[in-house]
């Protein structure tokens, strides 16, 4: 855990009053008015409140009847979860333009690891800015972002300039930032733990840092261990993309450029082997086989074929790839070949069908 890892660039993107903003987006009459999503019933609890409503002290998880006392003008609207999911997907698609390492926490927030990103942009702050701009332009909602070296600090930072703002905690600022941080803002420290900390004289990160690992473990159990390291800026939890895999590939660059298909067959065999291994590791099968050919002049060509059924058998993948290779004459000598399988059986599959085996009766290709 304490191995020196290269400094990571993590962005935490948090939509501002997401449910309420979506409602305002879809129903312009509500713009600028204090609204609460949910909580309209007798004992209802508010899921989200617009910033106009928050000014009156209306918060999420507050009982509706209490909120109306605080803000008599408050407008209650019903949930539209499908709509939130739809917009959330739209936002995630923007994230995926920058990195595949996206860990959604809920519909309205996600961690992004942009240490290596698709745009080749070294500045996580600029990426965050760009993402927020795009969300605003493409979706019409505002988001806040926190940028730092780990998920923990990024998440705290995203709250700093909310709404519609962002905060970067640079690597050299991490320690002072944490030392100055109020203990109740630490991730995983709720009311009860905070109370306990207060009793032990711990009010800020600096106070926490004075305590030994033993002491923290004795008083807070396993979490104590986490607190000890977190306050030192060590939080190695990775951004875990739990997104559905869309394709699976293997490729190989050759030591020497190959000019004849005959030499490539053997290579394809190895690549198909690798793809098969990865398929069985991920326990997926796919329908579309794509052959990637990079010529010696670095031009790229892809040829693909979609089969009517899911495959994961090496021979079938290899045969299909061979067909694709011979489908057309090569333009040049080849420096790289790759096989990828997409249209995976993980996509768009209702949960219920998961265990069911799908079988396809094949036909002659007349």
């Amino acid at each position: 855990m304490r191995d020196e890892l290269p400094i990571r660039k993590i962005i935490h993107v948090d939509m501002d009053a997401f449910y309420a903003s979506v409602e305002q987006l879809d129903n312009p009459e509500l713009i600028g008015k204090p609204i609460a999503v949910g909580g309209g019933g007798k004992r209802g609890v508010i899921s989200a409140a617009s910033y106009e409503a928050r000014k009156f002290g209306v918060k999420s998880a507050m009982a509706g009847n209490l909120a109306i006392k605080l803000c008599p003008e408050l407008i209650f609207v019903n949930h539209h979860f499908e709509r939130y999911t739809e917009i959330s997907k739209q936002i995630r698609r923007i994230f995926y333009d920058y990195t595949d390492l996206v860990e959604p926490l809920s519909l309205d927030e996600a961690y992004l690891d942009v240490t290596e990103n698709k745009k080749g942009n070294p500045s996580a702050s600029l990426i965050a800015k760009e993402i927020r701009t795009r969300i605003f332009n493409e979706v019409g909602l505002t988001a806040s972002a926190g940028i730092s070296i780990n998920k923990f600090i990024a998440k705290i930072a995203s709250d700093y300039n909310k709404p519609n703002g962002q905060k970067t905690v640079n690597p050299e600022e991490v320690i002072p930032f944490l030392e100055a941080l109020e203990i109740r803002k630490f991730y995983g420290i709720g009311k009860v733990t905070a109370e306990k900390m207060y009793q032990k004289g711990i009010f800020t990160g600096l106070d926490l840092k004075q305590k030994s690992l033993d002491y923290l473990e004795k008083n807070f159990g396993k979490s104590g261990h986490l607190y000890y390291y977190i306050v030192r800026g060590i939080h190695n939890s990775e951004v875990k993309p739990n997104r559905i895999r869309k394709s699976l590939a293997a490729e190989r660059t050759f030591n020497e450029n190959l000019s004849s298909e005959i030499f490539m067959l053997e290579k394809l065999d190895h690549i198909a082997e690798e793809v098969t291994k990865r398929l069985s590791k991920s326990n997926v099968a796919g329908k579309t086989v794509t052959l990637k050919i990079k010529y010696s002049d670095f031009t790229l060509q892809t040829r693909s074929k979609t089969l009517p059924y899911y495959i994961k058998d090496k021979n079938i993948i290899l045969e299909t790839a061979k067909d694709l290779l011979y489908q057309e004459k090569l333009n040049n000598s080849v420096r790289l070949l790759g096989i990828s399988l997409s249209n995976l059986n993980t996509e768009n599959k209702p949960k219920k069908e998961d265990d069911k085996s799908v079988s396809v009766q094949l036909k002659f290709e007349f």
């Binding site: 495959i311 079938i316 079988s359 009766q361 007349f366």
Partner: protein
């Protein structure tokens, strides 16, 4: 018009001809048999416009004439008679009177000229084949033909005649049968697609017959002449799929097994298969063939192991058990060979023994892809 004919002799011919008549006809005249009398020759015809069949009967008569007599009524009446001579007399009042030993029966008839004429084949080619060989060729192939209206060519049997031999092919895109006779040759190359209905009639009539059948054909029609009958039918128009291209050339995995054992196992195991896919799984390793099926919806499951003679890599392949059953049932050999290349390529089923000289049967079945 008057003639005398044996009741059972007439019934036998009419029952064969009755197979041509559709249950419901848009053209009412097609519900009739056409009787054309020329002294002691009586030609009886039945037609559905696509297929017309005619038989010539020897009768006692000195007159001529042509009438269309309701088929159903006539057949129902004849069925009840024991063997006896029947006298048919066409009366002036538009009825045919039949006199039997028991009494008299009058049927309204239509003018024979209303009955559609069978086409005459122009410029036909000709091949002669033994009746039983043709019947065998039909019964070996016809079960594999399809029913898809969108692909009418596949709803028939493809006749491929050449100087090397005769080939008959049927497929519904899932299974395919190719039946070849190298011992019967045509004088020139010809290809045509025969619809199922006339083939089923021919199969019924010609089974076991040692008589020769003369097949005449051109681009649009074919005519089969045998004994006292002829059958003329319209061919299916279109190009037959290039079936040779789908027969896998290299099949390194070869399984030889007792046909009955295999068939019985497939039948038993398939009872436990999914009711819509009928999918069974063959798992072959070493000298063991493992046949299994599973219906996840009902938690039904079956598995059998058979000893077989196997050369090739261990493999798993899924098939629709109904196709396998149909094919194995259609064969009559003691042992069969199943050749395979990959789980997504057709399996080739052939009989190991029991074939006549010059006879070849190749059956193809496309697998079901297993995805679990």
């Amino acid at each position: 018009m008057k003639f005398i004919v044996s009741s059972t002799y007439l019934l036998k011919q009419l029952q064969v001809l009755g197979g041509v008549i559709n249950n419901s006809n848009t053209l009412p005249i097609l519900d009739n048999f056409l009787f054309e009398l020329d002294h002691d020759k009586l030609i009886i015809s039945a037609s559905d416009l696509e297929t017309t069949m005619a038989s010539t009967l020897d009768v006692e008569s000195e007159s001529e004439g042509s009438v269309a007599i309701p088929a159903r009524l006539l057949l129902d009446t004849l069925k009840t008679f024991p063997e006896q001579p029947l006298t048919f007399v066409v009366e002036e009042n538009n009825t045919v009177e039949i006199s039997s030993n028991h009494g008299k029966y009058a049927l309204a008839y239509a003018d024979g000229n209303e009955f559609p004429k069978a086409v005459a084949l122009e410029d036909p080619s000709k091949t002669v084949i033994t009746g039983d060989i043709l019947a065998t060729a039909i019964s070996k192939t016809i079960f594999a033909a399809g029913n898809d209206d969108l692909r009418p060519v596949m709803s028939g049997v493809f006749f491929q005649f050449s100087t090397e031999g005769l080939t008959f092919v049927a497929t519904d895109a899932h299974k395919l049968v190719k039946y070849t006779r190298e011992d019967v040759k045509a004088s020139q190359v010809a290809e045509f697609i025969m619809p199922k209905k006339p083939l089923n009639l021919l199969k019924g009539i010609l089974g076991g017959s040692e008589e020769d059948v003369t097949i005449e054909y051109n681009d649009s029609n074919a005519k089969f002449t045998f004994e006292n009958s002829e059958l003329i039918c319209r061919l299916i128009d279109g190009k037959y799929p290039n079936y040779e291209a789908v027969i896998p050339k290299e099949n390194p995995n070869k399984l030889a097994i007792n046909r009955n054992q295999f068939l019985n196992s497939v039948r038993r195991v398939s009872i436990f298969s999914n009711k819509t896919t009928h999918q069974i799984r063959l798992k072959i390793a070493g000298a063991e063939l493992n046949i299994s099926a599973e219906d996840i919806d009902y938690s039904n499951k079956a598995e059998e192991r058979l000893t077989c003679d196997y050369q090739g890599d261990d493999m798993q392949i899924g098939f629709n058990s109904r196709f396998l059953t149909e094919m194995l049932t259609n064969l009559s050999s003691d042992d069969v060979q199943l050749e395979m290349s990959m789980p997504n390529r057709a399996g080739i089923l052939t009989p190991v023994d029991g074939l006549n000289e010059g006879e070849q049967v190749t059956m193809l079945v496309m697998p079901v892809m297993l995805n679990n």
